[in-house]
């Protein structure tokens, strides 16, 4: 399974980035092989959540692990059938372990405060 964990850095020891759309990095991790690919997130001024959701879909992840997901991103990820696990904290390594041991909650709706109202910046 390929999961996407939002992070402030590029490796397993990096801190989880609590925001989804404006996270510093997306770490795509194969849970079987632990192969990791870090993708720097370069959000535009508008619609960062939508853009981020498309990145995750293109990379083929089926699970997102992050702090919180805003409404626009939620809609995009949900359309692709991607499962979202929110409330992750600590390092990427810890978040992955918490996910694998069922300690993270699966989100059934947007959990995040919208950045700029989830409407981009006018």
């Amino acid at each position: 399974m390929k999961v996407c964990i939002t992070a402030r850095g590029e490796g397993f020891t990096a801190e989880v980035d609590p925001t989804f759309g404006r996270a510093a990095y997306f770490l795509f991790i194969d849970t079987d092989t632990r192969a990791l690919e870090a993708v720097a997130n370069v959000p535009g001024a508008h619609g960062a959540g939508v853009q981020a959701a498309q990145t995750v879909v293109e990379k083929g992840a089926t699970v997102v692990i992050t702090g919180s997901v805003g409404p626009n991103a939620y809609q995009g990820l949900a359309a692709a059938g991607i499962e979202m696990y929110t409330g992750a904290t600590g390092t990427v390594e810890q978040a992955l372990a918490n996910f694998q041991t069922g300690k993270l909650t699966r989100s059934g709706g947007a959990t995040g405060a919208r950045h700029g109202g989830g409407r981009g910046i006018q």
Partner: protein
């Protein structure tokens, strides 16, 4: 001439200054008052206008024909605001992100995008105190107020003295209300909070090259840091409104200072003279 009354901080007295200024100079000039604080317009409470006409402000939202669409992604690439996404075979249109520019429709190679109008709010026009009055009113639940402000600015009559009551803050709606003005009057209060937001508002006005003047409201509270800042920045404090029970009482009754206290008519006329020079 166009004068925009703005502030960084909300609740500093923009509407107090804008409405009093409009009434004070309306004997001398043909005034046009535009309440561009479209999320919460309240100048009508003081001006008590007769509304004669209401019209709708719309933006055009894209509608994708899923049968015709080839999922080529040209519209997604073209959209500056990420308002269209293709997720697998699904096409998502984010209405709140869409600025209604129509670029997606232009770039679609197969003509799969149509546009339909979506109401953002209304503009009410009428008269108050013998001058022309208009206010924008954003519909509840709408996120984008700038198209209404732009529409209102399109109503500006260059032969008149236009007074614009701007929305608070320093974001796009405020910039839209300040841009192209001949002068901006920034209303603040002499507190650290007032100063902080005044500095942001000055930055906004200067970024769009609009000269600024400051009005200090609730003068007598707080400290002198706003005045010191204005001195350092070479900004004229064109008026001070004292923190006085009488003024607060008139405000609470929806009465303008100019209507209740004749000396304030002269003071607001002097404010006009100071900023119009």
């Amino acid at each position: 001439m166009r004068i925009t009354i703005a502030s960084g901080k909300g609740g500093t007295g923009k509407t107090t200054v804008a409405t009093n200024l409009a009434i004070a100079v309306s004997g001398k000039f043909s005034v046009q008052f535009l309440d561009c604080d479209v999320e919460e317009p309240n100048a009508h409470i003081f001006l008590k206008p007769q509304i004669e006409q209401t019209r709708s402000v719309e933006k055009l939202l894209p509608e994708v024909d899923e049968e015709l669409c080839t999922r080529c992604g040209e519209c997604v690439k073209a959209c500056e605001f990420n308002a269209i996404a293709i997720i697998g075979r699904k096409i998502l249109v984010y209405n709140d992100l869409c600025h209604g520019c129509g670029l997606c429709k232009m770039v679609c190679p197969v003509g799969a995008i149509n546009e339909h109008p979506h109401e953002l709010g209304v503009i009410e026009t009428g008269t108050a105190h013998g001058f022309s009055f208009a206010r924008g009113l954003l519909n509840v639940g709408e996120a984008m107020s700038t198209p209404i402000i732009h529409e209102m600015k399109g109503m500006i009559d260059p032969k008149r003295l236009t007074i614009i009551d701007a929305p608070p803050g320093t974001g796009c709606p405020t910039i839209a209300a300040i841009k192209d003005a001949d002068v901006a009057i920034l209303v603040t209060e002499p507190t650290p909070f007032g100063l902080h937001d005044l500095q942001a508002a000055v930055g906004v006005a200067r970024s769009v090259e609009v000269p600024v003047f400051v009005v200090i409201n609730r003068d007598g509270i707080g400290d002198d840091r706003v005045e010191r800042y204005c001195q350092e920045e070479n900004i004229q404090v064109a008026m001070k409104i004292p923190f006085a029970r009488e003024i607060a009482k008139l405000y609470s009754q929806g009465t303008t200072l100019v209507d209740a206290l004749p000396e304030w008519k002269e003071r607001f006329q002097a404010l006009y003279e100071a900023v119009a020079r």
